[in-house]
Point group: C2
Chain length 492, copies 2
């Protein structure tokens, strides 16, 4: 069928074309079907949307991805990509081969699948799981699709947390400890999507985090480590595209998590990786058996891929450190490096760094490196290499000066702090965009409190956001205080 | 967050809004998330798309469904609808309650789910199946969401075919047979989506098919039957919306098929329904056990819903009748009603009509009604009531006069005719839009042929489409001819 091109100034994820209902009926296409478009030297594929009004019969509307088309084009129905067949295979609970997984990942990466098909993929691996072989193949496929970083050294150390715990800013402490021991640790981190701060957001308070692969190599060759934003390098491009379907359904299929994490590590050239699985009420993994299974799978797949992987299952039922939000977390980090700061943040960083030393089979002590000041010195070196002020101290960093103190309504012991509430309130207060916004926890689990003690303080940089944060808190559990003398938890 | 509205002249299925990447980061929303939009007296929900260019930070692009918004609006993150939780529940292989199914169906009907969520629903019931209770609840929920037709009589007869067989135009023969016996049979049919003709397309060759519920009631009270297009009445609005996700994945979850068919029948007020399940190589159901299971489920759910349901499992491994395409099928229908025409079409119509008579417990013979001319008389009455020419005859209907004859390349017996190839070739020839286009089968399964006999003829109304049809045929199996003396089918 011959159609005249009309440009529609609209960005779309996939190469969308808009066809009049009449022409669609004649072609026999339905919404989300594909058509081949032939135009002089171009042959391309468009995903169909159908309209009664936007374009007339005889005309084809093309969105920005196809805006190089003009004049008259010849269109015909295009077959569905093979990956749709393999997605159906997974929905049928049949195992996928390496070649089939490669095809799916390639098509996702090239935006060839529409949202329905992408969701079918995610739903299929969630409903029917991935076997160990499939997970290994998926990891390899995801690694191969992106850029990779090559290193000359034998040991490239790395760590990853599967997330879900507020304030968990161990990376800027672990990286200098490990680098100070002479081990290369080129750490890439993410920015917040739904949290009050990603590691990259926190580090950005202190120095730059956007670097190219060549710049990263230079920083690491100079200092032994780095703390940069992974989004600036193209290590696992397909990951974000898969999240597009996982996020609306709030599902995180285990096999996909394993493959996403390990493919990123492999692309980054890591050889020795510690993976932290925070576990407990209010964190992503609330079942200890589940955390152990996940650790087992990480180890197994890591070894399939020729990486040394060790997992830590850590307490995730309350935030780590006192600060939540970029500046508040950066201050905790600086305090710990200066020998002060929150004990839990310090201990967790030490435990993870020691695990990494064990994994690398080096005889080093994280505690010694931290307490001797060697970690601080290395940290200052890296911050300097990333264009920051090496001598920055905690008090130099401005916290949002609009505050709201939240008080204990009874005396007792803190037994739980809800990560989800802390996260949502800190975000409403402005974090991570307003770097000084967030929450400072004065009390942590195990602390005894008197009625009216300040449990935590909300910091904001503007009054509207402070009010938003306060209203977010209404009716939600944040810090749970129990009287130790009261055995009854609830009547059920 | 306050944003200024900018109109984007784009139709979308759901109420899409376009937000700049920066604002999206501050709000903490990702593509396909929802935001609440407050504007003077309006409070509405938009589904988020994210742009770097199309709208600037501080501005929100609203597509047509929301074009009543203007000026400044206040936006905030909206929670996901409850149905997403229930979709995840199904993906987790847990049973859904009636209330949960109601919520999902209501949200689908009101376009509240995005494509990813809709696909999660379809994928979940495909991967994990629906229990009998869930299927009954789904049927009820789908019935309640649309219009219904009420009838005064005790018996309202109906038939349905689950499809997949080319040329299967039994409806315009069965309806007059049954109506001639004094039983009301208000039949609604579909138009072709991917086939060369739906029953509504074929009937439209002879008379109008677009009628309102009131007009349908008038036609039926006058003649006892009708043959109209179901799409003109709002009997099962949610069905088309679910197909949007089934079609790209080419999945047809059994529970959904059962619920879609039976909810439409119930909405139409049917009390006695025959459901035809064509079975065999190349049809939708290729396994006899599967056909029997489906029949069992239809009976069981029908009786739960208070309907008398009987199923026929019929030969579906070749097209029914000789003609494929609106005019070619209409000619077969007229010929059968005049006592001639293809034997298989006649016999299948008789078998289905007799099954319906048994189900209604009336002592009538379809063969007698057909052979006496009573069926033809009733047919002419209905065609007249639907504004057609009652005296139309087969030869009055013009078949596409551009033809291509396809010859047998060997002598032997026809053992199989591929429905899929016949369908695709007939469509490429122009059917159903070009009413005279399609295929005429000169030989059917069981016929003996000599080398060079014409197996079938392609008809088209224009030369380009005839060429398209010929090229569609290349390399595909259409009519299989086997020598009866040759025992070897293939070396494998």
């Amino acid at each position: 069928m011959e159609l005249t091109v009309e440009n529609i100034d609209m960005e779309t994820k996939s190469p969308t074309v808009v066809v009049n209902k009449q022409d669609a009926a004649e072609l026999g296409v339905q919404p989300l079907d594909r058509i081949e478009i032939h135009h002089e030297e171009h042959n391309t594929v468009g995903i169909v949307d159908i309209t009664e009004e936007l374009v007339e019969s005889g005309t084809i509307g093309v969105t920005r991805k196809l805006d190089y088309l003009s004049g008259t084009v010849e269109v015909e129905v295009a077959p569905k990509p093979d990956s749709v067949k393999y997605i159906r295979r997974k929905l049928d609970d049949r195992e996928l081969s390496r070649a089939q997984i490669d095809t799916i990942i390639k098509d996702i990466n090239e935006n060839r699948l529409n949202d329905v098909e992408l969701s079918g993929y995610v739903s299929g691996i969630y409903a029917n799981n991935l076997s160990m072989d499939e997970t290994v193949h998926l990891t390899e496929a995801m690694t191969e699709i992106g850029d990779t970083i090559e290193w000359s050294g034998e040991i490239i150390a790395d760590k990853h947390s599967i997330g879900g715990v507020a304030g968990n800013r161990v990376t800027p402490i672990i990286v200098p400890i490990v680098a100070a021991a002479g081990i290369n640790v080129p750490k890439t981190s993410s920015r917040a999507i739904t949290s009050p701060a990603g590691t990259a957001d926190t580090v950005e308070v202190l120095c730059d985090v956007n670097f190219s692969v060549d710049e990263i190599k230079e920083i690491v060759s100079e200092t032994g480590g780095c703390m940069v934003w992974g989004g600036a390098v193209n290590l696992s491009p397909v990951d974000d595209k898969i999240i597009r379907a996982e996020h609306p359904l709030s599902i995180d299929p285990d096999g996909q998590v394993l493959a996403s994490v390990l493919s990123k590590k492999r692309s980054a050239g890591s050889t020795h990786v510690v993976i932290d699985i925070p576990y407990g009420e209010g964190s992503k993994v609330d079942d200890l058996e589940k955390a152990r299974e996940m650790a087992y799978d990480f180890n197994k797949i890591g070894s399939h891929l020729g990486m040394e992987v060790s997992c830590t299952i850590t307490r995730g039922s309350e935030p780590i450190g006192n600060g939540v939000g970029p500046v508040l977390e950066a201050r905790d980090v600086l305090d710990v490096l200066h020998g002060e700061g929150p004990e839990d943040l310090k201990l967790k960083s030490i435990r993870l760094a020691d695990t990494l030393f064990d994994l690398c089979a080096v005889d080093e002590s994280a505690t010694e490196i931290l307490e001797s000041g060697a970690a601080l010195e290395k940290f200052q070196e890296i911050v300097g290499a990333q264009n920051g002020d090496p001598d920055v101290e905690s008090d130099d960093l401005a916290v949002g000066d609009l505050t709201e103190h939240v008080h204990a309504t009874r005396s007792g012991t803190v037994t739980h702090i809800n990560n989800r509430t802390v996260t949502d309130v800190a975000r409403r207060a402005g974090a991570p965009k307003d770097q000084g916004a967030g929450i400072y926890l004065h009390k942590k689990v195990g602390d005894t409190v008197e009625e009216d003690d300040v449990l935590f303080t909300i910091h904001a940089e503007n009054q509207d956001k402070l009010s938003d944060a306060k209203s977010e808190l209404e009716g939600r559990e944040s810090v749970r205080v129990r009287s130790q003398k009261e055995p009854l938890i609830e009547r059920a």
